[in-house]
């Protein structure tokens, strides 16, 4: 009897949590007629925003993979002085309000920023360009990829790397033959997660890149802008954004399911 009560007591919070976490996002799809949603999306504003979002996030995620993967590997496999401090700093973008990040980027890369003046010499201006959008996305999404990649490198036992070297394989080849294939599911999870985050990036982009359809207006900015005039359009774009993100997250769970099977040990 008490077992049953305990089960029920647990069921309550579980159900409430699930409902609370899913309902607001589901309502985006159900509040309006789907046909209306689709007709709204043919709006050139939504289309431009989607295209720009896909272009910029694709570049962002590529940059993240190229620059953050080696960093994640170092953070996982090497020990060095001040590692903990660096770790904390690298996690800051997760907790920093996005507007703060936008201001920070302006202070560095803006026309009067620390590096902005240097860039200006070569005629490079970053604010109000798609490059600024990419930079804001990279900044906000990197920590999530870093975390995910680092954890997946952590999961590759050092012994496997050691044994590979005693078998005559150099560290570089060991990385590609052992570490990388074993970390790959985790890396892909990180890619999908940070991609979804880059797609949703709003505050820093707004601050650093501005809001210009076709150049810097990504999907979330389009939603915010549409909210000022046409709530229906805002909901439609939200639905679009959620769909893209949902597909990405679905991929994550499929990766987990199909690529990690060998990790399951007998018993």
């Amino acid at each position: 009897m008490s077992k049953k009560i305990r089960k029920l007591a647990l069921l309550g919070p579980v159900l409430l949590a699930i409902i609370y976490l899913t309902l607001p996002l589901i309502s985006v799809f159900t509040s309006r007629n789907p046909a209306l949603l689709i007709s709204k999306l043919t709006d050139s504003l939504a289309f431009k925003a989607l295209l720009l979002s896909l272009q910029t996030t694709l570049i962002s995620i590529t940059l993240i993979v190229i620059f953050i993967t080696p960093l994640a590997y170092q953070m996982s496999k090497s020990t060095f002085y001040g590692k903990r401090i660096i770790e904390v700093f690298l996690k800051m973008p997760i907790v920093a309000p996005t507007a703060v990040v936008g201001v920070g980027l302006l202070l560095v890369f803006g026309q009067h920023g620390m590096l902005g003046g240097f860039f200006a010499i070569f005629g490079i201006e970053i604010p109000f360009t798609a490059a600024a959008v990419v930079m804001a996305q990279v900044f906000m999404a990197s920590p999530f990829y870093l975390n995910s990649a680092r954890q997946s490198f952590d999961c590759v036992e050092d012994q496997l790397i050691d044994v590979s070297r005693t078998l005559g394989i150099s560290p570089w080849n060991t990385f590609w033959r052992v570490t990388f294939p074993l970390a790959l599911p985790g890396l892909l999870t990180g890619v999908a997660l940070s991609w979804a985050l880059a797609l949703g990036e709003f505050g820093a982009t707004m601050m650093f890149a501005g809001n210009m359809p076709g150049t810097t207006q990504t999907l979330p900015l389009a939603i915010f802008t549409a909210m000022e005039s046409d709530a229906g359009l805002a909901v439609a774009i939200s639905a679009l954004l959620l769909t893209v993100s949902f597909i990405l997250l679905l991929l994550v769970s499929l990766i987990d399911k199909y690529m990690v099977s060998y990790r399951i040990t007998p018993n």
């Binding site: 302006l106 803006g110 026309q111 009067h112 604010p127 109000f128 036992e157 012994q159 496997l160 050691d162 044994v163 590979s164 070297r165 005693t166 078998l167 005559g168 394989i169 150099s170 080849n173 033959r177 052992v178 294939p181 074993l182 707004m206 601050m207 890149a209 501005g210 809001n211 210009m212 359809p213 150049t215 810097t216 207006q217 915010f224 802008t225 549409a226 909210m227 000022e228 005039s229 046409d230 709530a231 060998y262 990790r263 399951i264 040990t265 007998p266």
Partner: protein
């Protein structure tokens, strides 16, 4: 022939070992953490020693003096890890051929086939490691290490991952295999049984040093310290100096006689029985004697034991014949070290015992925090209610933020019982809030369209203009592009920021630009719009971009240039002939909870006093 001498400082002690090994097996035995695995890591090159050398068949792998230190991949040393460390993503065949990447496909296949056959695991070739039993995994790990034909083989606890029932079988198989291999092999273990069966040579290690090395028989018969005796299961007792001058004797458990009465033997100890265990035809007694480091082990034939009816806690006498005792001289240092370590370990055990995990309360804590947090809210709202104040709530378009705050204060001083609250946001947002049923008394819109739409939905009563506004240009204080008139907005490559056309300020700005085309030409609006680098959703965003110097010019309401912004930006007036009149509209809502007060508030806003406040912030009065 493997020769090495290695020294490395570890956290608690320095390990220093030198050995010479022909094609034979050396078993390094010791407790975990004694530095034996470190030894293997240094030999294989995975860990750098502080000093010493490693030499295999005349080839130097490491020499501190000559700064030679080959990386692991160039040492040709086979290393089998404790948990075998098979690559989980590769089949057995791929695991085994892993180290042969330089050979041709044919050679590789032949080598792998031979090795799989040698270890009798051909049938496992296509399995993945997680499908194998512990014994099979060990064979695969061995195959992988041997296929590269290493000069030396290192095995780290090769049997500890196996369950007891398979361990003894695999141990014997391993012995056969090592005999066939005939290369220098070092096995690290904590089980003396491994040493007994596998070792041509045995070395007992403690805290980084080899305490005793020799044949298995030497070590068993003449343990160099109580520590070694513990491993081999030999009795080593402290005795008062005898005729041969030695202070210790070693003897085998099965030579010990145990009686309940005292005898006349030279080597006799009195103690209590600490433990009784049966093993085959013998019963093993552990007899604890107060002055000895370790208990005496005595193996007594089972029938004799039953006849004597001994039990735990009973005081007995254990003795041995003189010819069974092997007198020994131990260095006093070793004994001292041993005592220190034992007491240290006992302390450690005690500490561990006191650390018990607490389970209860895990669920209570978040509940408590939640209660406290909610409670504090309740306290706050209570303190508000104690004044019995009436609350008036307004939804206000963002541009009116500053004057409205002053108006609120003004109203509150005249009505001490009233608490005015307001939300400031873009007109569209406050409109949505009203439409979604916000319990507001007053609605202030910056846009005629929005307030008309709300009226159509019958959410408000009549509305009326409450303040008049205009549009102005703003430039950074230093005005880098030397902008002085509206016409300059059409000049080349300017960075202009305006509101998006969905917000009132955006529409007003566009209207102003359009009005100017009468004088500056039909192409003027296009030229200006080409210069727009960002469309902001509210005036503050435009001002921010200009004040940060990112935008070179922006179009805003003059009323939004607060003293803070005025420090960083400069207003440039737009001539009246082009300018527009931006009107704020005010209304009392239909569902206003305090209609009377709300009406009073609106009247106050429209009075000269209220209009004066608007004027203070740069608005024009509706009364003039």
């Amino acid at each position: 022939m493997l020769r090495f001498k290695l020294k490395k400082k570890l956290r608690h002690f320095t390990t220093e070992v030198s050995e010479e090994l022909k094609n034979e097996t050396l078993v390094l035995i010791g407790h975990s953490g004694c530095g034996k695995s470190t030894m293997l890591k240094m030999l294989s090159g995975l860990l750098a020693p502080d000093d010493g050398y490693i030499n295999i068949n005349g080839k130097t792998l490491y020499n501190a003096k000559e700064s030679i230190n080959l990386p692991p991949e160039e040492r040709e040393i086979g290393y089998v890890f404790q948990n075998y460390a098979l690559f989980p993503h590769l089949t057995v065949r791929r695991n085994v051929e892993y180290g042969l990447s330089t050979l041709s496909r044919q050679q590789r296949n032949k080598r792998v086939d031979d090795t799989l056959a040698f270890l009798e695991i051909e049938q496992l070739a296509d399995s993945k490691p997680h499908m194998l039993s512990g014994g099979e995994q060990q064979r695969v790990a061995l195959a992988r290490a041997l296929v590269t034909k290493p000069d030396v083989l290192l095995l780290d606890e090769p049997l500890s991952a196996l369950d007891v029932s398979t361990r003894s079988r695999v141990r014997l198989e391993l012995k056969q295999l090592l005999k066939q291999l005939d290369i220098p092999t070092i096995i690290v273990t904590h089980d003396f049984e491994d040493a007994r069966i596998l070792g041509d040579k045995v070395a007992v290690m403690d805290r980084g040093e080899i305490i005793q090395a020799g044949s298995q028989a030497d070590i068993t018969n003449f343990p160099a310290s109580p520590f070694v005796a513990q491993f081999t299961g030999t009795n080593l007792m402290n005795v008062t100096a005898n005729e041969s001058g030695s202070e210790h004797v070693a003897f085998d458990p099965w030579k010990v006689k145990v009686y309940q009465t005292q005898s006349e033997a030279q080597y006799e100890w009195k103690g209590t029985i600490g433990d009784i265990s049966y093993s085959g035809a013998f019963v093993r007694l552990q007899i604890i004697e107060a002055n000895q480091e370790i208990p005496i082990h005595a193996d007594i034939p089972i029938e004799l034991f039953q006849k004597k009816e001994m039990e735990i806690g009973e005081v007995v006498y254990a003795w041995i014949k003189n010819e069974d005792a092997r007198p020994l001289n131990l260095s006093p240092n070793i004994i001292k070290k041993f005592r220190k370590k034992e007491s240290y370990e006992r302390k450690g055990r005690k500490l561990q015992e006191t650390k018990k995990p607490k389970k209860a309360g895990i669920y209570i804590i978040p509940l408590l925090i939640l209660l406290i947090a909610i409670g504090s809210f309740a306290y706050n709202s209570n303190s508000n209610e104690t004044g019995q104040k009436v609350e008036l709530f307004a939804l206000v378009a963002a541009n009116a933020t500053e004057p409205f705050k002053d108006l609120m204060k003004e109203f509150e001083t005249n009505h001490p019982n009233v608490d005015v609250k307001a939300t400031f946001a873009g007109t569209q947002i406050v409109r949505t809030q009203l439409e979604q049923g916000a319990n507001a008394d007053i609605f202030l819109s910056a846009d005629l369209g929005h307030i008309e739409a709300v009226k159509k939905q019958d959410l408000i009563n009549e509305f009326q203009p409450v303040s008049l506004n205009s549009v102005t240009m703003v430039v950074p204080k230093n005005n880098p592009r030397k902008i002085s008139s509206l016409e300059d907005l059409g000049s080349k490559d300017l960075k202009l920021v305006i509101g998006t056309d969905t917000v009132p300020i955006g529409r007003y700005s566009r209207q102003v630009i359009k009005n100017a085309s009468d004088e500056y030409g039909q192409k003027f609006p296009d030229k200006v719009m080409d210069n727009v680098v960002s469309l902001e959703t509210n005036v503050k965003q435009v001002l921010q971009k200009v004040s940060l110097g990112e935008a070179e010019v922006g179009m805003v309401y003059p009323t939004d240039v607060t003293p803070d912004f005025a420090k960083k930006v400069k207003k440039i007036k737009i001539p009246d002939k082009f300018n527009i009149v931006a009107t704020n509209y005010i209304s009392v809502t239909k569902k206003a909870p305090n209609k009377k007060l709300a009406k009073e508030f609106v009247e106050m806003m429209l009075s000269d006093k209220g209009q004066k406040i608007f004027k203070k912030y740069g608005y024009k009065s509706v009364n003039e």
